[in-house]
Symmetry: D2
Subunit: 224 residues, 4 copies
């Protein structure tokens, strides 16, 4: 599928990630969500791990707010934290409850190594680098889920709710906003030709590494 | 005045800060707000510097969310960021506009050294230490303004709006919540006798240092 | 084997890590080093990955120096950085050169996921927590290698050099020093009964997680 | 005096700091060191405050090592930490001892606000930004002292030892090395035209702010 329009940096980095991008967004796990063949056990395993993931991912977006240089950057980052904590995570709680996993069980989830690797990579990129390093590492998750959502829109199988969430207007608006924040942050610091600077290689490598860690996450999710 | 009830840690640290606490909360600048004798020029200087202050202070609360260990800690910290960015800062913009200082002028404010010293101290405490170090350094601003607000409640002078904001139910609820988050965070990490641990001295010294930096901020604000 | 005497915290955390500790220090990879059965290909794969590991590990010890509260803590942490950069890493360069892997090849090593997971976990523990969180996550590598070194001391097989390095007086002195720094840092912040505080569980979980990431590192190293 | 040759970035930033640079490097305190008119009381006050300063400054250089992207960057930063902890700080201890201030008294120094403001600004710049932000904030101290040292070289007054230290070959070599690390780090990330990027303004503002904080430090030192 063609790239969704989430801005300039996303288009470049998505292309730069090469086959890894398709291996992530068209992973067997995703195909299982699409055609309904994903075993429920895998799905629940995924939801539990994703709950732990979202806690650390929200922390990483909070770190982005701490590293912001403008009010717009701060507002965008803190709005994302807010969405994760008050919208996406309650959804997980509700979905898991429907499958008989209560909140206590959810919160007792042991973090899988492939899960831990991803979030700590993102957080460390943010702490050791600046806001650009952090955004480059955060982008694949948000924007990749947006792209998957668009591809799976209108799904009527057992995982239609999941597809609707990421295909939905709210999540797509978040993706467009993140894409804009990213482009603005790059322009504001590095100018219009930022992609020709040596720094662009580091940023691409962070985007690509996070994309590969998404693949690792799907692999982990698939095998409870 | 007796200490407001913002929890156990606040009561201990407020007492531990000694005369510095009164020098902060009953500073000549505050008395000028109370009896209306504060020159408007000083007030506007304060509002401009406080605008810059709030940006960095919001970054520090965002860092607290990044350093949170529980969802409750994260939600409290990110709610505070939200309040600062979406409530307190727009209030500054509006008040300044009423005095003829437009947003561009406000954002062009040169940060005074006494302003910079305070926020960087708080942020660095948070980055180098853990959430407790950060909360101990964040507490004097929020809770001190709460205490000042209670003392100046019902003020009818030229600075009644300012007094109302910090005396108001919304800000007082925030103070109580911050006090609870603080007590819970201490209990959760260090147990009920945390104040007898060596660590308590470091935390007190962070609270006291931030209190003294508040005094420096008022001093700076008073002399445009 | 009985625990080496690297201090009080190490003894507690080593016991607290349960079977994971033996699974790490008596891993099949280690047994292969001991009895010489480890394929050379695996050993070279390990050396290359460990080179990348040491760069990030040295960064983590540098972060410990940044987070130190006393000169002694800073001196110990910076001495470890110095040892890693000026002693251990040149050894890797030299050993690899002897096997025909030049420095350029060594530096071009692609970081394996099991390698990345470990160092980012440690660094993030340090950035998000305080010095104690960081030291608890750093301890299993240094002290575990010390214990392995003692067990493999006097080895005369193909990996005798590796065994000598970690059994040697210099590395053992480093281990004792790290153990002392750890005990002192705990005592200085949390007092003599620190192991009874809730915080002790978090620190144990960091030590245990790092131990499990060591197992993941050996697993990765074993299968080039 | 003409700028010492500490590299390209230093030349640009020194010019960009405008009058602040001369106000720092030719401050009345410095002139008092040069012509011997500085009261001994001020000098001892300075030494005590500078001792506290160096602890935090060493932490900031350790943070630079943690944020390094290459071994060369890490080695340069950790060598500076080493020099500060093992050379410059013992010199302070020795000098103070000669004036009757023992180590305990030295370590009990209460950090002055103008001292705290400076080091926390530098550390926070490093934590919130990347290595370039940190180096831009670190540069004025090291390179400014190098320039002052060159100007005061050969001094025979009561502060000849101080002048010799910073005029000496060892410190001048450190300055040249820091200048090179800086130029290399900029080139490596932003390319040869880095000074034309928007980012250059942020870096200049960090250099200028740190220069102004040096002036604040001299002001504080002059008035015990």
């Amino acid at each position: 599928m063609s790239a969704p329009n989430y801005g300039h940096a996303f288009a470049l980095w998505r292309a730069g990630a090469g086959a890894s991008w398709d291996n992530y967004t068209q992973h067997a796990f995703v195909e299982g969500l699409r055609d309904g063949s994903l075993p429920q056990e895998s799905y629940l395993h995924y939801l539990r791990q994703d709950y732990v993931f979202l806690i650390h991912f929200a922390r990483a977006w909070a770190l982005a707010a701490a590293k912001a240089e403008t009010l717009d950057e701060m507002a965008a980052a803190s709005a994302t934290v807010h969405a994760l904590v008050h919208i996406e995570m309650p959804l997980h709680v509700k979905t898991c409850a429907a499958y008989g996993i209560d909140r206590t069980a959810l919160e007792a989830t042991a973090e899988a190594p492939g899960n831990l690797a991803y979030t700590r990579y993102v957080l460390e990129a943010g702490y050791s680098g600046d806001l650009l390093d952090l955004l480059a590492a955060l982008a694949p998750c948000v924007l990749g889920y947006g792209e998957i959502g668009l591809r799976l829109a209108g799904n009527t199988g057992p995982y239609a709710d999941w597809c609707d969430t990421y295909a939905g207007a709210e999540f797509q608006a978040l993706c467009k906003n993140v894409g804009t924040v990213l482009d603005d942050a790059l322009l504001r610091r590095l100018g219009p030709d930022w992609h020709e600077l040596p720094r662009a290689k580091t940023l691409q490598s962070r985007f690509t590494a996070a994309t590969q860690l998404e693949i690792g996450f799907w692999n982990m999710a698939q095998s409870p």
